[in-house]
Structure formats: structure tokens, C-alpha cells
Symmetry: C2
Subunit: 240 residues, 2 copies
Amino acid sequence: MSVDAKVSTVESPESIVAANKIINAVSRGDIITIHASCSVLYEGRAESTIAEGDRVVMIKPDGTVLVHGDEGYQPINWQASGSDVKAEIDGDGNLLIIGVDSEYLEVNCYAVYTVTLFDNTDKAELHVRGTEAEMHERILDDPQLVESGFHDLEHEKKFPFGRVDVFGYDSDGVPVIVEVKRRSANRDHVHQLYTYLKEYKERYSEDVRGVLVAPDCTDFIAEVLNAYDLGFVPLDPLDS
Amino acid sequence: MSVDAKVSTVESPESIVAANKIINAVSRGDIITIHASCSVLYEGRAESTIAEGDRVVMIKPDGTVLVHGDEGYQPINWQASGSDVKAEIDGDGNLLIIGVDSEYLEVNCYAVYTVTLFDNTDKAELHVRGTEAEMHERILDDPQLVESGFHDLEHEKKFPFGRVDVFGYDSDGVPVIVEVKRRSANRDHVHQLYTYLKEYKERYSEDVRGVLVAPDCTDFIAEVLNAYDLGFVPLDPLDS
DNA sequence: AGCTTAATATCGGGG
DNA sequence: CCCCGATGTTAAGCT
């Protein structure tokens, strides 16, 4: 394999070889992937330890360090981007991977199975559809989605009590506060909308209606909405 | 390298070789790490696409699929645990990694640089210190942390208006609602506590005090707390 | 720098 | 299964 290939892997390297490879790769800005048996120590906003086990360690050029186990979306431990990543050999001859910032992460490798260096290029941008921002846009483009006659919309209108997703007036000229959620409506959402209405009425001594827009809501939440005299409009984030 | 080693890596495999290795490794329950140039399609709660780029793909035995770029804690795309992971060859001879559950994730690999199979064992448990649960325990062990004379504590006491972190009585026998946060106090926390007090007074026609426990709070939040006549007790999640 | 809000949030616990 | 709340939440946008 040529020296300047995109990816180079060493299997079962000596600690000192692994450390040198990592140090060089960090300075080059590679993504580094390490398969190892390691324990992990974290000290920062909280503290954590985990004893030895087989894990995958990933070091990114922005200083992110991830330690992944065999389960779940979340890493067991991590260091946020911006950290200074070092590789050392400790007194027992083990490879230490250390990420230092305002917090401290130490990965103590008792056995290194592989070290892979990835001279990657990624210029592509992620495009996501079905966000709450997109739901806002759709309502602003077509106010009838909320209700017939809804007009004079304002987006992210600031009030002393908070920022309202969409503010406007119904066909009778009554102000309407619209709260948009991309997930199923829950009690917090209802509470947030109710609080807005209450504060609005207190401050402006004017009647106002509230509408919650979300993909769906349970029967229980529907009752709560009803009890508070709030409207609900189903809107699927992905319909368009 | 022996056949039953913990880790086996192939560099620049043909698509069909990569697919077969992945299929076998999935059935064995390995952690699979793939370095590749790929595009990604996601369809589920939202939809997303990202064009070709160099990324690290990780497949876990619980059905988690992660696609990591060169920046940040978060994967570019992922599939939650529980998905059915398949590897196929498409019409162009590219390796497709597909995770199917209620959602759909497709990783289209235009070039596969490495495939690493990790027959891992990890029996260790993560121990975390400095959580909110730990702060609760410390208060229950030593009520004086909140204030002198605080007594008859109840943990996670349920009320019609919500679950109170710690409920008890002050030295004068007045009920006290304690809300605990492991992060700096903010307006939401104050609002939550204030709402509890209000509901409590309305329902039980009895005076009640509120104390917010958090590592710190800004001057602004201190003013808000003061305006609502709420107490504040600084408590560092990591002091003990 | 601080604050606010969204996120394909994830994850765990309780009813 | 739904609901609720914590997370070392992370991340983006705005003041």
C-alpha cells in the first residue's frame, strides 16, 4: 500500500508504534480509528470511569474523541471538539490517548488491535427535510394550514414572555398564537402555549387564541388542550 | 492472523467481499467499522441526504448504525438500535449498507477503504459521578445542605401538578418545594418552581416556600428568583 | 459570551 | 405502550 493512500491500517501495533502513528495523524488532521481493549477516565462537568473492555476509539481532526462500546447511539465516553489530543506511553507501557480541554478524557489501552489513519475529504452538505423550521415555512406560505382566514402572520415574534413561533389574526381579527412542534404534542407543549396566552392576556388585556401544530396528539393531550380551550392542528413534518 | 482473532481487517476489498464480510459479521454480532467514500439516505421521522464523501461507518451488534464525518460529537446520519442491518450490491456494483426498522438508512459506498470486524467483549459498567440523581441523594442524606432545620423529606413526591424533586418542611413547619438542577439555573427552572408553588397554594390553600438548588446562577436569574420570593442554594454536582 | 430553542435528540424509569 | 424528565445532552442562531 502506497504511503500517501487515503487509509492505512496497522494491526496489533506495539504501544510506541501506535502512539507515534496517532501523534503524526493528529498533526496531519486524519480521522483516527482505534480498536482496543481499554479503560476510560473522564473528569469535567461530571466524572466517570469504566473498567477494561473492548471498544472503538475515534479521533477527529477537530479534536473530538469518541469511545464507542457495542451498544447504542451514544458513545460510552467522549471529549467534545476543540480538545488537544495526545498519545503517550504510561509506566506500564500502555498506550494512553488523552483529550484535554476544559475537560479531561483519558483512554488507557491495555491491548491495541488496530490503528487506522484516514486522510479523508468530505465537502458534502447534509440536507434534512421535515424539521420544525420547514413546518414554520409551510405555515407562512399557506396560513390556511392553521385555519381558514388566518392572516397577517409574523414569524418568531418576540414578546416579553418569549418568542412566539407564528403570530397572526383569525378571520374575526382575534390574535392567534401558534406553537409548532415536529414531534407528537405533549403536556409541556400545551403548558408552554397556555402560559403564552395567559401572559398575553395579562399584559395586553386583549383576547387571544392559541393553536398547537404538531404531527399528532394522544387522546389524553387532546383532553388537556380542550380543557385549556386551545386548538390543535395536525401537520405532518414530512407532508408537503 | 488467525481466523478467530478478536479483530480482522481487510483493506480495499471488492464490494462483494465487503458485503459478505459484513453479512457474516452481523450474524456473529461483531462491531463492524468501515472506512469508505459514501453517500447516505435517511427516511424516517425526517428525511435527509448527503452526497458522496469520506466517512466512517460503524455497525453495532444491537442494530445501531452510525455514519461519522470528520467533525463533532454527532454522527452525520444514524439508525437507532434494533434495526435489521443488511449489506448488498447495487446495480452499479456498489456496496449498500442498509438499516431497516420503522426507519430506513441507506449507505451507498462508492469506494470501500477498509472493513474491520471486531469480536468484542465488554462486561464493564460505566460509573458516573456528578449527576442530578446524586445531588438528590446528598440532600436526602444531609437536609442541612438546603437549609438548617429542613426535615421530613420526601423524594420525587408526586403532586397533581407534577413530581417534586425533594419535598419537606422548614424549621417553622412551612412546606418547602426543592427543585434540583445539575446545570446553572435558568429561567425555565425558575418558572417550573414558581408554577409548583402557585399550584400548591391554589390546591392546598397553604403557604409554601420554594428553593432552587443548582451549581450557580447568573445575577439576572438571582433577581428573578428574588422577584418571585424563591430561595437559591448553590450546590456543585461534584462536591461531596 | 450568554441565552434561547431545536434535534431524526437519546436514554432510562414508572405507570 | 405512553409519558416524563435527565443528559457530561449537542448544536445552531441570535443578541
